[in-house]
């Protein structure tokens, strides 16, 4: 009988090493890039060189040979240090997992080493204006033309297209005269003729920008289709649970940073001769946030472990994502309240976390979609959609 919650020496060392790297950049660097329209390429490159971005990818393709347990630790620690790298959610976690599990040998050789060392970045394009969270209604379609695919459609809320060398686009096959459609994933270079990306102005303080992407008869070679066309659904689900775990890790990092700022302030800020943290009006909500964060962290670790063990991680990954998002929203809100007016100043870096934490309730899957999923799958309640 073995059940233990000790991460062990290597994972602890990984946390410490990533935290060390993150602290060398820190939130000031991150915010400066975000506010000046800059990018966190220097941190991305350094994290890639140290092997942190590819910890989950196979060793034979330049990765670390670990899994989502390791990768989620990397993102959480970078976030806690003030510089979460959002593209980790898509490039190594979704795209790396899908190509690593379903890609042909040539596709793995072409993409994984770059994704592992950070020298190339791949975005993920699934959401469409008319489909929203309903990936069954995707209309982006590829038709065959000789040796090539011709891909057309429209995507929205695509992160970091300007940072990405390619996008993993979820489309369908327009299959012969009967017109039936099947999901299929394509690797599309971001400089492909016919691909246009337009940034969406957002209030999120983050160097990663959001884009609308238009695919207008984009011609792709035959091997742009990942793996076998019959595996589209399996590929999608293989990528989405890691995405949820990474979204949870992102939220946990934000939550921990907010808590570190809040508790530091509550310990040192004195009014009427007493540190404000001595008052239960501030101490109790912060303690409640701490409990939420630790619970969300446990579920995130469990979900990552289930994915790595090849077990069904759907409920755990969604629960982790839900719990971590709630923990982040509550922690950031309470951190602002703890700081009073300073909480909304730029100097303290707390308000900058506000929209970031709020995003986590919406993307990549909304709180409501998760609750519907759990209601239907775990509570066996009637489906609502």
């Amino acid at each position: 009988m073995t059940l233990h919650f000790d991460e062990g020496d290597e994972l602890r060392a990984l946390r410490a090493a990533v935290a060390d790297l993150g602290s060398r950049y820190g939130q000031p660097y991150f915010l400066e890039q975000a506010r000046s329209g800059g990018r966190t390429d220097a941190l991305w490159a350094e994290a890639g060189k140290a092997g942190f971005l590819g910890v989950n990818l196979p060793e034979e393709y330049g990765g670390g040979g670990g899994g989502m347990v390791e990768l989620s630790i990397v993102l959480e620690e970078l976030g806690a240090a003030g510089c979460p790298l959002l593209m980790m959610v898509v490039s190594p976690a979704i795209c790396g997992t899908v190509i690593g599990r379903f890609g042909t040998d040539e596709q793995k050789q072409r993409w994984l080493p770059g994704l592992a060392d950070g020298s190339s970045t791949m975005g993920f394009a699934i959401t469409e204006p008319d489909a929203g969270s309903n990936s069954h209604e995707i209309t982006t379609a590829a038709r065959r033309d000789g040796d090539e695919w011709v891909l057309s459609g429209q995507k929205v809320w695509i992160s970091g297209v300007d940072q990405a060398d390619a996008l993993l686009v979820v489309g369908r096959l327009a299959d012969g005269p009967r017109g039936t459609l099947r999901p299929a994933l394509f690797v599309v270079p971001t400089d492909a003729p016919g691909l246009a990306a337009h940034p969406i102005p957002m209030e999120i303080v983050s160097p990663e920008r959001q884009f609308q992407v238009f695919l207008d008869d984009v011609r792709l070679p035959a091997d742009a289709l990942v793996g076998h066309p019959d595996q589209g659904i399996a590929q999608l689900f293989a990528g989405l649970n890691p995405e949820r775990v990474m979204a949870a890790a992102y939220s946990l990092g934000v939550a921990r940073l907010a808590m570190a700022k809040a508790t530091d302030y509550a310990r040192t800020r004195q009014v009427w001769g007493t540190p404000i943290g001595a008052h239960q009006g501030l101490a109790h909500p912060l303690a409640a946030c701490r409990i939420e964060i630790e619970c969300a962290r446990l579920m995130t670790q469990k979900a990552a472990w289930l994915i790595d063990a090849g077990q069904d991680a759907g409920t755990a990954a969604n629960s982790a994502k839900y719990a971590a998002a709630e923990a982040a929203v509550h922690a950031v809100d309470q951190a602002i309240q703890t700081h009073g007016g300073n909480g909304l100043s730029q100097e303290y870096g707390v308000a900058a976390l506000l929209t970031m934490s709020r995003v986590s309730r919406i993307a990549p899957v909304s709180r409501e979609m998760i609750l519907s999923f759990v209601a239907q799958h775990d509570l066996r309640l009637p489906r609502s959609y």
Binding site: L14, A16, K49
Partner: protein
């Protein structure tokens, strides 16, 4: 080039540190123990010298079982192997005794260069390089902010308040480093995974041919008789400006040697 780095595990200087009232030694069990910060610069310098000159970096530490964490950190940064001297009899040893243990361990190793941090954040005695150099009859170059190794010589810029001295000595020599010498690397993922496969040799006093009576609290050359916590911060100085505020302010700064 065989390089040995002396590494010490200490209570984290960023956390509250205590002495154990039972025997007035550093309370390690309750502390957040980490690798001595200054030693990380020595490790980094050793790795840089090795990468230029070739050879091997061996980490040498004297400390309890828990010091394996410090060893693992050094190995994950890239050191090749480690020697861990662990023996309950060493507990409470003074600097002079500890230098004897380190010297005995070094004599069982091949070394051209011994590197160590210029001070440890727990005791802050900064005497270890001199003690070890004396015991081994090798030169010490202390307080380096720059190190070059060429032609069988170690050359350092020895950091001083006003600048530096250029000092050199023939190898083998012991060099202590300040935090101005480099920027220590953080372990890569490969480094972390490789660390667990690197050899760590554990040695007891008997393995070093030392008698337990030569070390330990009971036989130490110095003893901590008593200790007290830092007194609480007093009230600050309040200066009332009666037209001479600026002068008083400058006088205060001058009295604190700030201006």
């Amino acid at each position: 080039m065989n390089i040995v780095v002396l590494v010490k595990q200490v209570p984290d200087s960023g956390s509250e540190r205590k002495l154990d009232p039972a025997d007035n030694t550093v309370a390690r069990a309750s502390a957040d123990n980490v690798i001595n910060e200054m030693d990380e610069y020595a490790i980094e310098e050793a790795l840089l010298v090795r990468d230029r000159e070739g050879g091997e970096v061996t980490v040498l530490t004297v400390g309890p079982d828990s010091a394996t964490d410090a060893i693992r950190k050094a190995l994950s940064m890239g050191a090749d192997k480690a020697v861990h001297v662990v023996d309950d009899a060493i507990h409470g040893s003074c600097a002079v005794q500890t230098s004897g243990v380190i010297a005995a361990a070094l004599q069982q190793l091949e070394y051209d260069l011994v590197l160590c941090g210029a001070e440890a954040t727990d005791a802050q005695l900064s005497v270890m390089p001199a003690l070890v150099a004396e015991r081994l009859n090798i030169p010490q170059l202390s307080g380096a902010r720059k190190l070059t190794v060429e032609g069988g010589m170690a050359k350092i810029e020895r950091q001083t308040d006003g600048g530096y001295w250029a000092v050199e000595a023939p190898l083998p020599a012991i060099v202590s480093t300040w935090d101005t010498i480099n920027e220590p690397r953080y372990p890569s993922f490969k480094g972390i995974m490789a660390a667990k496969k690197k050899p760590v040799e554990t040695k007891t006093l008997a393995d070093l041919g030392l008698d337990a009576g030569s070390v330990g609290l009971a036989n130490a050359t110095s003893k901590v008789l008593d200790f007290a916590g830092r007194p609480p911060k007093g009230e600050g100085v309040k200066v009332v400006d009666e037209g001479d505020g600026a002068q008083k302010f400058v006088d205060f700064l001058a009295s604190q040697k700030i201006v």
